[in-house]
């Protein structure tokens, strides 16, 4: 079942360099660019949606940079804030919870391809950190780990509201984990693989993008993904008007920031998965992967051409991801939230049967086509 192609090939040094570069790139993108900047994007975007101006006061030498400096001041404030642990809290678990929440969101990115395969000076560069043949299963496995962070945080805080939040997280994640797995079965059937690079290559033709082949699967997946992300309309575990802040009520300082960051990172991961599965990954509509590399090769020579093509593909991928982040934020700021039992009903009674139906229908269509 498992093949170990993701391990470094015998040609060790270039592979190692490539691996390091990819990890550094993804970590920088996520930790240094997305996690903080999304805080700014969220503020500014929600402000403009609501006819407001948004954060604009933090300044250095009179430059406010459209409020971007608030990100830095936020980080500073959270860094110096008192790290509060309530009396009666389970201290080790209280410490551990934010780490459990934030790590899976980062680690899940390992299998998402942000570009294709390129031949550079005889070395094949594959723009994915770990090209697992069970890629999506890995994402499911890791993503469900982040639930523990929230549940443990809710339990360890020794606060009734946190406990209620933790319980709600547990129930909600459990319900949508099942549905989320099943919604994507249709995609796997269509592309015949769990490997995200294979799925990406299969979407070279614009009309073979997941959104056209699996429209229902897409809608169901985005529902489940929103629920997994715990943001409005599915933010019942942290519903501020009901549970104050839910499972992170008793967190402050950097630990709070880690919960906050894990939410943003999850959003990036979800957008990336959406793009990789349904929106062609790094592929540009109507231009084939190899076609772009050849065209660039004619212009800049084979190696530099491949690098230019690689850069174009990477940029296209991130543009798609960012567009999806913006759309997810639009949804988050537009909708009211569900009630606890209604989330459960939606998960078990609507999404799950529809996902199963989607599998059956996809199966029949595949049989008919072949």
């Amino acid at each position: 079942m498992f093949d170990y192609t993701y391990l470094p090939s015998p040609n060790l040094l270039p592979s190692l360099v490539e691996m390091m570069l990819k990890i550094i790139f993804i970590c920088t993108m996520n930790m240094a660019v997305f996690a903080p900047v999304l805080g700014w994007v969220e503020r500014k975007q929600s402000a403009l949606m609501q006819d407001r101006i948004g954060a604009n006061r933090a300044e250095i030498f009179g430059f406010t940079v459209f409020g971007l400096l608030h990100v830095a001041t936020d980080a500073l404030k959270l860094l110096f804030k008192e790290d509060f642990i309530p009396r009666g809290a389970d201290r080790p678990l209280h410490y551990l919870a934010p780490f459990i929440a934030v790590v899976p969101a980062l680690v899940a990115f390992a299998v998402i391809p942000f570009g294709g395969k390129y031949m550079l000076w005889g070395h094949e560069a594959n723009l994915v950190i770990a090209d697992l043949n069970v890629g999506m299963l890995y994402i499911f496995a890791v993503a469900s780990l982040s639930t523990y962070g929230a549940v443990i945080g809710g339990w360890a805080s020794n606060n009734s509201w946190s406990l209620l939040g933790g319980l709600r997280v547990g129930a909600q994640m459990l319900s949508y984990e099942v549905a989320m797995g099943l919604t994507l079965v249709g995609v796997f059937m269509v592309y015949g693989s769990l490997q995200l690079t294979t799925i990406g290559m299969a979407q070279e033709n614009f009309f073979h993008w997941g959104i056209f082949l699996q429209p229902l699967g897409f809608i169901l997946f985005i529902t489940c993904a929103l629920a997994e992300n715990k943001r409005t309309p599915f933010d019942i575990p942290e519903a501020e008007s009901e549970l104050i802040a839910g499972y992170f009520t008793e967190y402050s300082g950097l630990k709070f920031a880690m919960f906050w960051m894990s939410e943003f990172l999850e959003m990036v991961t979800i957008s990336a998965v959406l793009v990789a599965l349904f929106f062609g990954g790094w592929q540009i509509p109507f231009i084939s992967h190899q076609g772009l590399i050849d065209a660039m090769g004619h212009l800049f020579g084979p190696n530099f051409g491949a690098i230019v093509a690689m850069l174009i593909h990477v940029v296209v991928f991130w543009v798609k991801v960012i567009s999806w982040i913006v759309i997810l934020m639009l949804i988050r700021w537009s909708l009211p939230r569900f009630r606890f039992d209604q989330v459960m009903r939606l998960g078990w009674k609507i999404v799950l049967p529809l996902a199963l139906a989607n599998i059956v229908v996809t199966g029949f269509i595949l049989l008919a086509v072949r």
Partner: protein, 399 residues
């Protein structure tokens, strides 16, 4: 077998203390909850966290000095409190019929603008707490525009202090009708956007429909009034049942619900905003010119010329200010339709310049006492829309 397992489990109810400083209990109220999982088994409401001694304050000032205090009862619709108090004092004085027509119409306009502002605030806050943050801001914008009108007339957005015994503090500003027209045009856009964002949204419907419902009979026995009573299907509106101000002269609909749940309350309020705009527009077209104060030197302030020319005017000015308006012995109560229900001041005068007793009948006190009745048996999350649609205003309920 299943039941036996259940019995063996050592389960107990979760006791939860919601408020007084909890995001949902704005207006500082406290709920003692007993929860079975997410279900509310028992609920008690405790009020009084915003008690400021309004009634006692009023008894220590002159009749005029109570106006700034009434602003601070229901701060979202201050002019209505002013009007309700002024009407009660005028009834004691026996000058109700002598108020000039222009003053009556302007009072009606202010009342309806205040009703709009209050409903905007209430519906906006309600959706905010259900998580619809953008719809919240759209209605807050509409409210700000409405408050702009109120500010241009009264001089302050919230603490209007505009109505006086026997008339008004000042006349309408120039270009008032045009201002109102331009604001209403914008507000109608906000209204339709809010409506599109929420009224057909299934998430919102599921949260509002059949939650916090109260039957017609229960609503009456809990002394409900206003939109919450009408949502339960009772056709009662003080503006129609015992018309005051200019409500007899204008044409408007009073929305009535059927089941008394949160969705009905929401719809009633949404429709009342439109009807208030209608009333304001009619009043503006009917608005007569003329004086805005009663022609009675013992009640109103004299004009500058009179004060500086006639000794009597100056004396009345000093006596009215220092001793207060001399109100004959007696007691009075005038019901008015406040935004949340019947609002009235029960005043007792022993003669002289100060109220002997000033009791306010706040609409939301009666509504708040039914919280436990409406929420027991429902989910924890149902407290939020129910409490929002009750629209408890701490300043009014706790006084």
């Amino acid at each position: 077998m299943e039941d036996k397992n259940q019995l063996d489990l050592n389960t107990e109810l979760m006791v939860l203390n919601m408020g007084p400083s909890h995001p949902a209990t704005h207006g500082t109220v406290r709920f003692f909850l007993k929860l079975d999982g997410e279900k509310i088994v028992h609920m008690e409401t405790e009020i009084g966290y915003l008690h400021r001694g309004f009634e006692k304050h009023c008894e220590n000032g002159t009749w005029t000095q109570a106006f700034p205090y009434t602003d601070r009862l229901n701060y979202c619709s201050a002019p209505q409190n002013n009007v309700a108090y002024a009407l009660a004092v005028e009834k004691l004085l026996g000058v109700t019929d002598k108020i000039p027509a222009r003053a009556v119409y302007i009072r009606t306009i202010m009342c309806e603008l205040a009703r709009m502002a209050d409903h905007y605030t209430n519906l906006a806050a309600g959706t905010l707490e259900l998580g619809a943050l953008t719809a919240f801001i759209y209605f807050v914008e509409a409210r700000e525009l409405t408050w702009d009108i109120i500010e241009s007339v009264c001089g302050a957005r919230l603490t209007s202090n505009y109505i006086r015994v026997g008339g008004l503090a000042s006349d309408l500003p120039e270009g008032f009708a045009g201002h109102v027209k331009s604001v209403f045009a914008k507000n109608r856009v906000f209204w339709s956007e809010f409506d599109k964002l929420l009224t057909h949204n299934r998430i919102f419907l599921d949260r509002m429909r059949d939650t916090g419902a109260i039957s017609r009979e229960d609503a009456i026995s809990f002394a409900f009034t206003g939109p919450c009573l009408r949502a339960a299907g009772v056709e009662y509106d003080v503006r129609k049942a015992s018309p005051y101000l200019a409500y007899r002269e204008v044409d408007f609909d009073i929305p009535v619900g059927t089941t008394g749940d949160n969705f009905d309350r929401y719809l009633v309020r949404m429709e009342e905003i439109n009807q208030s705009m209608r009333i304001v527009e009619q009043c503006l077209s009917l608005l007569p010119s003329g004086p805005i104060n009663i022609n009675d030197a013992s009640v109103r302030n004299p004009s500058k010329e009179d004060g500086h020319t006639y000794m009597e005017s100056m004396i009345f000015h000093f006596k009215n200010t220092i001793e207060g308006i001399q109100v004959p012995k007696g007691e009075s109560y005038v019901p008015t339709e406040g935004t949340n229900g019947e609002l009235g001041f029960y005043l007792v005068s022993q003669g002289g310049g100060k109220p002997w007793k000033c009791r306010v009948r706040p609409p939301c006190f009666a509504l708040t006492q039914a919280m436990g009745h409406m929420c027991t048996g429902s989910y924890l999350a149902d407290i939020i829309p129910t409490f929002d649609m009750i629209n408890l205003i701490g300043g009014e309920c706790d006084r």
